[in-house]
Amino acid sequence: MTKALGSSRLSRRRFLTASASLGIGTIAAPYVARADDPTLRITGWGGKWGEIMKAEIGPAFENEFKCKLQIDSAFPYLPKLQASSRSAPIYDVMHTNSNEQWAAAEMGLVEPKIDPKLVPNLADVYPYAISDKIVGVSIFTSAIGLGMRTDKGYGSVSSWKELWDAKYNGVRGGYVIPVNSLGQAFLMMCGTLFGKGQLDLDAAYTALEKLKPIKIVDFTGAMEKMLLSGEVGLCVIHDSGIYRYDGQNQPTDFVAPSEGVLSLEQVLTITPGSKMKELANAYVNYMLRPDVQKRLAETVWYSPANRKVKLDAKYDAKLLTTPEKVSKLIQVDWKWYNERKDEIDQRVNRIFRA
């Protein structure tokens, strides 16, 4: 008995050996565990999108493709991708808006196009989703138009130009253009409305000058709240920012102006240095699948890019689900915009600073 106890006594050497083994084991365990499953590293939004991706869409993909999906929802994606090695990028698939995708493509950080042979569902998307204005593929889009309060007696609104009406002085809402995609798209729309087209920046700047006084915010979420609180009566906003409050009896409505709505695309691209190309293509294909598209569209009020998606009546009535509705979409030439972004930023900063 005594001998048995004595043999199990903890010597200093044993203690140190055990501690070192435990320490190394603890540090190495996650890497060892991860070694079995391939990991696809993607980016993704927070909010409702993030919730459903974590709860349903992501786990279903992991089960089907026997892999781990690592979703980075902490901005900013592009600087992180830029900082990582081209041959071992931090992401395999990047999900962000079109303007950022174009910037990434210009730097060679993402592949400009998706191969339809590797992503069969690409055959079913609306033309805008793979047009020459798109890098990669747009899996969803929102319509950028006007959001208005319905309880202030403003009357009906049908044109973008009504945003310049003096009755909205003090309750007009827009964005900090250098940092917000909606603001940038709206600037291009100003060129179309008051000049020779999207590329008529001089006409756009003049129009912006006349838009003052205007309340400007960085984030779309902030604009939603300003509209809900009544701080803003008419503003530039995307349809999902209004429709997401459906059923809550909010005195707000989305207006699709007669001149057309701007497209705010949710774009997926694959990084050239990804070691998980097959899985990356499978993920893009999966996100374009009608059942996945329907589930996401009805959760976050984004218009699906796949033509074959059949949404429930409530969503079908409001979202862009037919070729006729989709034809109202105006896509921005982000490549052109990004090439002039610094100059545009300086000019609009001067306009709104004054």
């Binding site: 590293r41 939004w45 927070g46 909010g47 409702k48 999108w49 993030g50 919730e51 974590k54 690592q70 979703i71 980075d72 929802s73 902490a74 901005f75 900013p76 600087p79 992180k80 900082a83 990582s84 090695s85 071992a88 931090i90 984030f219 779309t220 979420g221 902030a222 939603e224 709240k225 300003m226 809900l228 609180s229």
Partner: protein, 292 residues
């Protein structure tokens, strides 16, 4: 019988006294105004400091999903949403974990470094101190980006220890600075006396040196905890998917859902920071170190 004074003499004396004390009364009057001014300035500063907290509390307790003033009622719905959210709870726990690990590492490293700098007769001490304080001068977002690039080059990904290392880097200067402050007037003869009486260097450190420098070390530790818990720019680049800290989670949340949950999370953060300070006060008696 005492000497008698004629009324005219008394009034003369009073007049003389009034004349003599007139400047003093004028000074007292000015002091009184000065006191009011002093109070007004202090109240203004306090209001300025506390106003953002008041706005956050109002936002957190307001039932509407947007900031509304005056508030239309009191509701705990945003606190319910915050505590029911798995993401927020995970982020809160992770932030506390990182802040505690950072506090331990920054305190140990910072206090040791300060001791070495104060005692070690090192060449280029001023340069070393300036280097150790340099993370405070560099924009934290650049520190975060630089660390991120370093980890990428080392091919270690974005591990938790990497985040702790990043936080330690930006909190270390606080511990170094506060510990150096108490070491500035440290009487080394006390250590010599202990050693003359037979105490080993280790015992001298724990029984003489540490108790004397404790105010500075503790103040640095508190700074380290609070700075780490609220750290955003460094965390932005170093958090890994699924392991986001509370400030990063809040930032991502408010891009899409700017509702009272942000206010509730802020109130919880403020209360936690307050509890840490109160807890330290109760356990180690911060009040005795107020002179710091």
């Amino acid at each position: 019988m005492g000497p008698s004074h004629s009324p005219s003499l008394v009034s003369d004396q009073e007049a003389a006294l009034r004349l003599a004390t007139a400047p003093m009364r004028a000074i007292a009057g000015r002091r009184c105004y000065g006191r009011y001014l002093y109070l007004a300035v202090n109240i203004s500063i306090l209001t300025f400091l506390l106003a953002p907290i008041a706005v956050v509390v109002v936002f957190a307790l307001n039932p509407t999903p947007f900031i509304q003033f005056p508030p239309v009622g009191v509701s705990l719905r945003w606190f319910e949403k915050f505590f029911a959210s798995r993401d927020f709870m995970h982020a809160l726990g992770f932030s506390l974990e990182i802040a505690l690990l950072t506090t331990v590492s920054a305190t140990m490293l910072g206090a040791s470094a300060a001791l070495a700098l104060a005692r070690g007769n090192l060449p280029g001490t001023r340069l070393i101190v300036a280097t150790m304080l340099s993370p405070l001068m560099l924009p934290a977002i650049l520190t975060g980006l630089a660390l991120f690039q370093t980890y990428v080059l080392l091919d270690v990904g974005r591990p938790t220890w990497g985040l702790v290392a990043g936080h330690t880097l930006v909190t270390l200067p606080y511990v170094v600075r506060t510990t150096l402050a108490v070491l500035h007037n440290f009487d080394t003869r006390l250590e010599e006396a202990a050693q003359n009486l037979g105490a080993s260097p280790l015992r001298t450190f724990f029984e003489v040196t540490l108790p004397l420098i404790k105010p500075g070390v503790l103040a640095g530790a508190i700074f380290a905890f609070i700075v780490s818990f609220d750290q955003f720019p460094v965390s932005l680049f170093l958090v890994s998917p699924g392991n986001e800290t509370l400030p990063v989670t809040l930032f991502n949340y408010l891009k899409f859902d700017l509702d009272g949950t942000i206010g509730a999370a802020s109130v919880v953060s403020i209360v936690l920071a307050f509890l840490v300070v109160v807890g330290l006060d109760r356990t180690v008696g911060l009040r005795s170190y107020v002179k710091l």
